[in-house]
Symmetry: C2
Subunit: 406 residues, 2 copies
Amino acid sequence: MVILSVTGRAPINIAVVKYWGKKDERLILPLNGSISGTLDLTHMCATTTVAISESFSEDQFWLNGLECSLSARFSIVLEAIKKRALENETIDREKLSWKIHICSKNNFPTAAGLASSAAGLACLVFCLARLYNIDGDVSGIARLGSGSACRSMYGGFVEWMVGECRDGRDSVAKQIIPANHWPNMAVLILVVNAGRKHTSSTSGMQTSVQTSRLLEHRAKLVVPDHIDLMRGALLQKDFQTFAQVTMKDSNSMHAVCMDTYPPIHYLTHVSHHIINLVHSINNYFRTCKVAYTFDAGPNACLYLLDDDLPTILSLIRYFYPKIQNVEEGGTDDDACRDGDVDEFVRGRKVKVDAVNEELINSMNITVLPGALSYVISTKIGDGPVLLSADDSLLNLETGLPHGELL
Amino acid sequence: MVILSVTGRAPINIAVVKYWGKKDERLILPLNGSISGTLDLTHMCATTTVAISESFSEDQFWLNGLECSLSARFSIVLEAIKKRALENETIDREKLSWKIHICSKNNFPTAAGLASSAAGLACLVFCLARLYNIDGDVSGIARLGSGSACRSMYGGFVEWMVGECRDGRDSVAKQIIPANHWPNMAVLILVVNAGRKHTSSTSGMQTSVQTSRLLEHRAKLVVPDHIDLMRGALLQKDFQTFAQVTMKDSNSMHAVCMDTYPPIHYLTHVSHHIINLVHSINNYFRTCKVAYTFDAGPNACLYLLDDDLPTILSLIRYFYPKIQNVEEGGTDDDACRDGDVDEFVRGRKVKVDAVNEELINSMNITVLPGALSYVISTKIGDGPVLLSADDSLLNLETGLPHGELL
């Protein structure tokens, strides 16, 4: 049996200027541009194998070990890639008609509320483009799958252009700086211990578009300014501007959520506590040491510089001490644990300072035991990578996931 | 000793289209117009006696039984009233030079976070105007004392006009409808059990004016539409529009607070729980039965119609059951208790229905024991009233508070 296959890995991204609201639901065209940092693949990623064969009798899809039906968005992406391949004659017509097997997994916890669809769709598009020999930018195809997925197609800091064409052809991702342009940029994800379900970002932004009077103002006037400031800050490695714009843009997006009718409320009292803590830290040092940003959930993502990691982590440990035996928020939180000696701070190893008593005493912030499930320590990283056949998620003799019998 | 005195009583008001941000700090000119309901004097009010006498040797001021120095705002108001009296020759020049004694008290709990300054300043201006024989509108003078105080100068629903003159002469209050135009409008104040201090509205709105990009949009475009819709709803007694605009405007103001840098967060998880509860109730009935609005604190003010009071109160009792021995939130919460058999629902007597089990089961809302300290039940009422000498807070022979010795 001839099987052609590609295996790849794609990162997640965390926006510093947020996407909130579509102007075209079908083409996933945003009301405003956005900018995100791509996170290191080592700690969080989606991995996908795509394989085609004349002998496959139907398209099949496995996600995290379970066979699923191919979602509408996966189908849209698959069709768009095949169309591009056909137009550019990148592969035999015959092979385009072969059925496809897709096997994908995420190594990050659902409990972290991180945009798994962005990494998953980006990974699929990356692998399909390689499989069908498509050169050039395919971020517009990733956008069709899941808007912010287009930003995961590149490393470093990436802008999703708002675009002007009605068909969306210019609403694509462009790298502003690669990861090594600002190598000491660190990221901490504070996973808040919260059980409740949230409004999905898809339906949340739909309601905002329909009801928020402030959204249009944000999209037309506020975000373009944030984009300009952020581009400049990234190119110049100006952490002060970077941090302020990041925080203001997050607050602006959550203000729009509050202005939505009925209001959407992603931030919990723990999120607000983290916001207060960050402003208190920055006030104490009379300079921005750390910036928060929040997506459609209560978890905080903190951007900071490597030099400040030991101090900031000591404060996080102090104000959000772990409670023993507290419920862990999910069954899938084994991610980022490989080789960790530390259950609370996972991912990238970092030194933690002793607590600065003077700082803590000056802050007037309450301690919230058990408020966080854990912290993921990571940094800005590169875009999707190709893996070898050794890493294939499919048995390349059968075309089925390893362990699955014909 | 000749003493001239006036005693009066003035109500508090709760905005349904909010004042947030000044364009002139000294003259207290707002960035946008606002509309409020004046609450019945029976349950919450400020009472003030002003007295002048040739024999008084200095201006003196007593608030809630304690002598205080006359605040800057009180002095501004006193001066503005005297200026008006002088210009219009409403009183002998000589009497204008007599020193003044002011004695004032509020009967509502500080813990309720209700705008005591509005009622207090409105009451002072009302009494001073009577004392110096000033006819005509003095709401502009009340505005100089405490912006929203101008709305407490009239009963029913009142608009504080944004005005166009730079000297503020047209930024005054006007009654839209008197209380008896919509006699079945009820009000419930849900006093949230929260100890923490909040950003004062004065400093909060200053920071918003300086930092929020969304505030200008709200003031220029959103609020004028809300004012127009609200005026129409009040004249036509259209509760659906009234309720929706009230909720949207409250959300819009708190969105601006979130957009302020650093963000201001007046709403607690209990406030958000109340917001969810109100939307769930309205969803269940497929019509707006009740509207929430929040000022610079976590307490909710609910507007609803008399017919729905028994149902809504049964739900409030069900979802926020009182815990015995829970801390009461302050030492001054004796207000509105006179003759109450019910410690939890104070003020105006209302029937409480048995809980509708079907409704509760359909709502998927958690019960939050102890979330509320108590509820004040009241309704829309009239403007300030003159009291008789029998109600004077000053001994009219000595000019001092009762019980105070010469």
